[in-house]
């Protein structure tokens, strides 16, 4: 199908749908009809693995974290998960983790919460009770009901293990392990089925929709209510689906979903991996506690702002935040609360406003020993505006910089030296005028007037809007026309685990318009998106790419 006819078809379908949409508060959608892109297995991220175990098997469980690291693709772990696999060393760790988890889940203090039946004898096998446990827990872990064969084989494992170990619950541990290392648990399986209303199209099965929804909004496996709705088939009914979306969005657990979402967007995993390190001699006050607090400050700010229905764009200008005493030292503001968090509003004359002025962002997008206007500018371009910055040319000529190093005292001086070179200027001009406006924040995000004894010039320009300093760049970003559409695109990729297909672009444009009409309310965007074809339909399983093709 050509480009033209594809667009035309989308337009025709859009008109058709608009014609029959209802106006009664959103039970119908006037989103353009599209065929969603391909589905693929999605390996649970480290966080999803731990959350699923905690939700299904008990919060008391210590879940091993270092298994196979999540892979980032197209700027998201959520996309990387559609490509991630299980390596030999990864599987070895998954198996050890499963044994450790199963032991804790079924220890003497907690087994009663998980095993609803009483075995005939604690020291011998009981197929009925084992089968009941496997059926109940397996449904939550596999995010669908198990087949009889899947249950029976595990009852057998439990029976044999009990015979050897002489303990019903130890036998059950092995059966539970077999659920936890199964590809049906480690991978989210998204299945397609013909759409009864149009057998030429494929839609996701109800169970697959339940998982997509649950991981998007709570970043964990679906709960029983959602699985019930899926397995009864009702979830395919628009109103039922909308009601489940509302239930999940309005739950306190939606905060988890927001945190996971923005942690992935902003690559906050680097804090979790302890990689936001700074040179101890240059920044003696910077500690692991400050790094962790800084990340938490930003996430709290986002959650508070968005769950209050705030305009997404105001995240880049808001002076409202939360601080601990440790952070108060870096921001040089008093914090009354001795232990824990308190709400704080930066003064009007403070250089701080918006997420980008947070210690978290400034420290993350810096080197261990110095700030990086380039990394900061690249972050704004790529992550917040969804604009691609090309990789630098391989044969970079730095000879301009070389002889005068001693004279280049500030980052601006050093970067301007790059930018006088044509091969560098094209890209650096995209990044540096943004990043240089943050130069008053050093590599740990502390405020400074000077670098190496020279007063910092924090002026800059973003796509025609000039500013002086971090407040101004935040305002320019807030009003940038791409900031809303970029969130739509990123949220979509995060939800479906892949880049949007060409065919889905009209849908994303539509969602972008609706997002603007709603006053950039993220909850409204989420709701509109998950009820759209992009979320609910698919072109089928992803096929392997040709690799190693000759050019």
């Amino acid at each position: 199908m050509s480009w033209f006819s594809r667009d035309l078809m989308a337009a025709v379908l859009a008109v058709a749908i608009v014609g029959c949409s209802s106006e009664d508060g959103g039970s119908g959608s006037d989103a353009p009809a599209v065929d969603g892109g391909p589905v693929a297995l999605r390996r649970l991220t480290t966080e999803q693995f731990a959350r699923s175990i905690h939700d299904v098997l008990g919060k008391h469980i210590t879940v091993p974290t270092r298994i196979d690291p999540d892979e980032r693709r197209s700027g998201l772990l959520a996309v990387g998960s559609s490509f991630a696999g299980v390596t030999p060393s990864g599987f070895e760790k998954y198996e050890a983790a499963a044994a450790a988890v199963a032991e804790q889940a079924l220890d003497a203090d907690h087994r009663a919460e998980l095993v609803s039946c009483e075995p005939a004898s604690a020291s011998s096998s009981d197929d009925v009770c084992a089968g009941q446990f496997i059926e109940q827990v397996g449904r939550r872990l596999f995010r669908r009901s198990l087949s009889q064969a899947e249950i029976d084989r595990r009852v057998e494992v439990a029976r044999n293990a009990t015979a050897v170990l002489g303990d019903f619950y130890e036998g059950l541990e092995l059966a539970l392990s077999s659920l936890l290392v199964s590809p049906d648990f480690l991978f989210r399986v998204e299945r397609a089925e013909p759409d009864p209303s149009d057998p030429n199209r494929l839609r996701l099965t109800a169970a697959s929709i339940a998982s997509r929804l649950s991981f998007l909004l709570w970043n964990t496996s679906p709960d029983d209510a959602l699985l019930d709705a899926a397995e009864s088939g009702n979830l395919l009914d628009h109103d039922v689906l909308a009601a489940q979306v509302d239930r999940l969005v309005s739950s306190p657990r939606a905060e988890i979903g927001l945190r996971s979402l923005f942690s992935d967007f902003y690559d906050f995993r680097q804090f979790d991996d302890g990689l936001v390190r700074k040179d101890a001699a240059l920044f003696p006050a910077y500690t692991q506690t400050i790094a962790e607090n800084a990340k938490e400050q930003t996430l709290r700010t986002i959650v508070a702002h968005l769950t209050n229905g705030g305009d997404y764009r105001d995240l880049f200008t808001t002076r409202n935040t939360f601080l601990t005493r440790n952070l108060g030292l870096v921001y040089r503001v008093p914090v009354v609360e001795a232990n824990g968090w308190e709400a704080h509003t930066f003064d009007q004359d403070s250089p701080r406003a918006g997420l980008l002025s947070h210690v978290s962002m400034m420290a993350l997008y810096s080197h261990p020993g110095r700030s990086s206007p380039t990394l900061r500018g690249k972050f704004v371009r790529e992550v917040l505006l969804c604009q691609n910055v090309p990789t630098p040319p391989a044969n970079i000529d730095f000879s301009i910089v070389e002889d005068t190093m001693g004279e280049l005292r500030t980052a601006r001086d050093r970067l301007e030296a790059h930018v006088t070179s044509d091969s560098c200027a094209g890209c650096h001009n995209l990044m540096d005028p943004i990043g240089l406006a943050f130069e008053n924040f050093d590599a740990v995000g502390a405020f400074r007037e000077q670098e190496n004894g020279v007063t910092i010039d924090a002026s800059g320009e973003l796509d025609g809007v000039a500013y002086d300093g971090p407040i101004g760049v935040g305002e320019a970003l807030r009003d940038h026309p791409e900031v809303g559409p970029c969130l739509v695109r990123t949220l979509f990729r995060y939800s479906v685990g892949r880049d949007a297909t060409l065919e889905e672009w009209p849908l994303l444009d539509f969602l972008g318009e609706r997002f603007a009409e709603s006053g950039f309310r993220v909850a409204d965007l989420v709701r509109e998106m998950v009820l759209s074809d992009g979320f609910l339909t698919t072109s089928g399983p992803r096929e392997a790419e040709m690799v190693g093709a000759e050019p």
Binding site: T87, S89, F398, D403, G540, A544
Partner: protein, 452 residues
Amino acid sequence: MKRRFDRRTMLRGTLAGGAVSMGLPLLDCFLNDNGTALAQGAPLPLRFGAWMWGCGMNPDRWAPTTTGEGWALPPELIALDRDLSAGGKVRDYVSVLSGFDVTLDGRPNFPHSGGLVTTLTGRVPEQDGVFVEPTLDSVIASEIGGATRFRSIEMSATGNPNQAYSREAQGLPNAPELSPAALYDRVFGPEFADPSAGPFIPDPRLMLRQSVLSVVKEDGDRLMQEVGTHDKQRLDQYFTSVRQLERQIEVLLDGPPDLEACMRAPQRSGESLGTEVGQSKRTNELMAELLSFALACDQTRVFSMMFSAPISGLRQAGSSSQHHQLTHDEAIDPALGYQPEATAFVLDSMEAWADFVEKLAEIPEGDGTLLDNCLVFAHSDVSFAKVHGIIGIPMMVAGRAGGRVKPGVHVNGNAAPTTRVGLTLQQVMGLNVESWGALSMKATLPVSEILV
């Protein structure tokens, strides 16, 4: 001496009978004679390893000026002058390969990844940093890694879990061990069958774990029927990984390794993870020691170590610059003719390489040392990092590979593709491969100068 009984068969029989009693009298007949029996007859295992450092070197200061044997140590290889406790110097066990190039066939030179991906997979990448083919160590591991408890052991001294050196098919990263203590636990933890620990009693749980694995393989078979071709490949990888764990369990059921040099590694303290150069060197050294004991016990035959990442984050305490930054920003000192601060990290890297080689030479094995039965490939991602040079990627080979390679030689490739080295390494490791790489990077001739 041949073993008359297969412990596994016996135990399986016992388990199938339902009641399991594995008393000592039954098991006495399975005990080996403390590791010497098989070692005397069987050949010692041959091991392959890779060791990489980031951001290259200064070509004029790194490559020897003469080829063949007896070359004078160039300034950046001075670390190889170190004496070994078993006699000789590190340089006697190392061959230097200079003048081997990466040719891109018109594709862009992605900084720090173009040369690396091509050298390790034989193919020029089409996207920045994206591997589609397995790396050399994985290619070799998939051939020879199946015999041991661990198919391969990946290590990193960067402290970053998200930078993997080793890649499976489709570029799937083999996550490295970052912490020497974690590596110790993995290899020498409670599961390790210590040859000096007295009578060996296999843990009956091992067979129960096998039963778990057979169930999940059935799950995978069912899932295989429902997914697209791309996911089939991913599930294949999952199956390979399950089979490797099955193999691991079989090895554990077999009891202590029958190798004279095998003993539990010493436990060391003083671990500190990070990219401050002292931290990375310490991690490298601790891991090299653990690895040497693991190899002596034949726990694996393939390994890799990323000493520093391609965009090297090595730094000196108190400095605002990292190695990679310095290679681009630091001026070439007109008097010295090189970048002094950046070059200091090259010297550090070469010292770390010497540390690694030295540890392998400290374990006596057969008539020599463990190093004699190893083939270790060291290389960087670029030559001169300032311009992301891929002409003359620095490479070295250490060890004698059981007498198959000749150490102490300097070979100038005269612009031959780096894949000739990869081809040579595969052939030395016994892989039946006649050519390797694509287009200009297709290699058909091994580097015969280092072959015996």
